[in-house]
């Protein structure tokens, strides 16, 4: 995952507003399974019924503030990852969604001043902390995660870290 995370990410943007909650990302009526493929087929059903049929592997979600607020359901990032979304860019993330994404290895990027419309081509260079809207020429930068989180990501997720043994604080 570490090498994968460091690779440039390129994809088509799907734009969402502020405070997209996890009930919108995956409504509770679909929580009777933990299978990422089935969850993916209902991804974003609370906002856009057709998202799951429109999205292609590699696409990027770009959202406003407080993305993933509400319930702790890990099914939300699982469904996004299951669609093949290559990264979620948001002004800010709700804290449980944030940790779930880190824990399961869904690339997320916090970036506050990046302008995008649905359909724009986006390129992200995680190494340089650089994000570009190829369609409009708009660019922005973001900070790398602190070392603690980078280690979880580098390990390939939290359970991989557990396997490596407790590396302590």
């Amino acid at each position: 995952m570490s090498s994968k995370q460091k690779l440039n990410i390129k994809g088509r943007a799907f734009k969402f507003s502020d405070s997209v909650d996890t009930d919108q990302i995956i409504p509770a009526r679909f929580l009777d399974t933990s299978d990422p493929k089935i969850l993916a087929s209902h991804c974003m059903a609370g906002v856009d019924d057709e998202f799951a049929s429109k999205v292609k592997p590699g696409d990027i979600i770009v959202a406003g503030k407080n993305f993933g607020c509400g319930s702790s359901r890990e099914h939300a990032p699982l469904s996004i990852k299951g669609c093949g979304i290559s990264a979620v860019v948001a002004e800010s993330f709700a804290r449980i969604f944030f940790r779930n994404a880190i824990n399961i290895g869904l690339p997320i990027i916090e970036c506050s001043d990046f302008n995008t419309n649905t359909g724009d081509e986006i390129s992200i260079d995680p190494e340089k902390g650089h994000i570009e809207n190829i369609t409009t020429g708009d660019v922005a930068s973001f900070c790398e995660f602190p070392e603690f989180l980078s280690k979880i990501i580098a390990a390939g997720g939290l359970m991989e870290k557990a396997k490596e043994g407790n590396s302590g604080e």
């Binding site: 890990e74 709700a94 359970m159």
Partner: protein, 418 residues
Amino acid sequence: MSLGRKIYLKSVKDKKKLKPGKFIEIDVDLILSNDITTPPAIDAFNQSQIGKIKSPEKAVIVADHFTPNKDIDSAEQVKKVRNFAQEWELKFFGAGCGIEHALLPEKGLVVPGDITIGADSHTVTYGALGAVASGVGSTDIAYAWVTDKVWFKVPEAIKVILKGKLQPHVSGKDIILYLISLIGIDGALYKGMEFCGETLEELSMESRFTISNMVIECGAKYGIMEPDDKTIKYVEKRAQRPYLPLPDKYSIKEDNDFDEVMEIDCSLIEPQVAFPSSPANSYPVSSIQKVEVDQVVLGSCTNGRWEDFVKASKIIKGRKAKEELRFIVIPSTAAIYKKMADEGLLSVFIDGGAIISPPTCGPCLGGHMGVLASGEKALSTTNRNFVGRMGHKDSEVYLANPEVAAETAVRGYISVPQ
């Protein structure tokens, strides 16, 4: 040093590591999950092939969301969870035992000074007992099963001072809705909230649970209250583990080491109603235009405790819910259900036209037992009114306290008792 950080200290011995923004890995006292969030934790546990749960006695699983099971898929999920609990000898509460955040305090499974994690965002409820309790995800649960640990970013802490005498028909629900409307849905994002003040001292444990329960609706990591005599009275007859009432006679009120301080004059708060689709969208019920509703839900981890039903029953007694309105009453634990039967409250509600449901999260998340059709409106004592939360995307949820719920059930439109 805030109470949250003081409690973290029992696991992280070095104070310097507890600066806000630093990452820590700490031992947890209790690891909670439910019928929806346990299956992905089991998947993560199995995929890791670690094959050992470090402290089975710390794990608690409550099947409360889609139970009694609503369909075959949810029954299969609970079967998977129940079998896993049996195999690893984990504490398991099945259908009807209760809603996790009402059940665990009642059973004395969370005590003051605990570090609790739960794969359910309303795990923050236990802050009312003086525990640092935070919602996490399913992989966090799997990780805690095998290591006893969780990772956290040390949060900044906000001191919230509650002062002033409450108006009639105002309770914990109104205080927290009012507070969320002041600071917004991400107003405490990544931060700990620590409550104190004369109003808090007067509040019942039920109202305190309601306040802590909803701190997640403004993004908070935890919402803690320092244990006082009421807390100890509640805990001492229930506690399943020894506990320390407070480190060094600590007092949130006297502590000046907070990143932010807020003072709320609770005497100004009227009974609130949060309009769709945000818990921050709150107004005094007295200020709103007529909103007719199709359904009223009285229950949940937010407002399904004994006092909630006592207050609502006083409003409904001798009256009847409006015809065609669905008035759904859900005791949050089997013990509360029994007490309602023993003390005649069930009769009051049934005579008042209510449908009594067994303990379940059911309608709160649009699961079952009260799902809304398109265009329908519900007034609910639950915690979230997001788009489609209780059913169809074009249905609406309004949040309020139990007394407003009961009065609304009778009148058919959102109203405060006179």
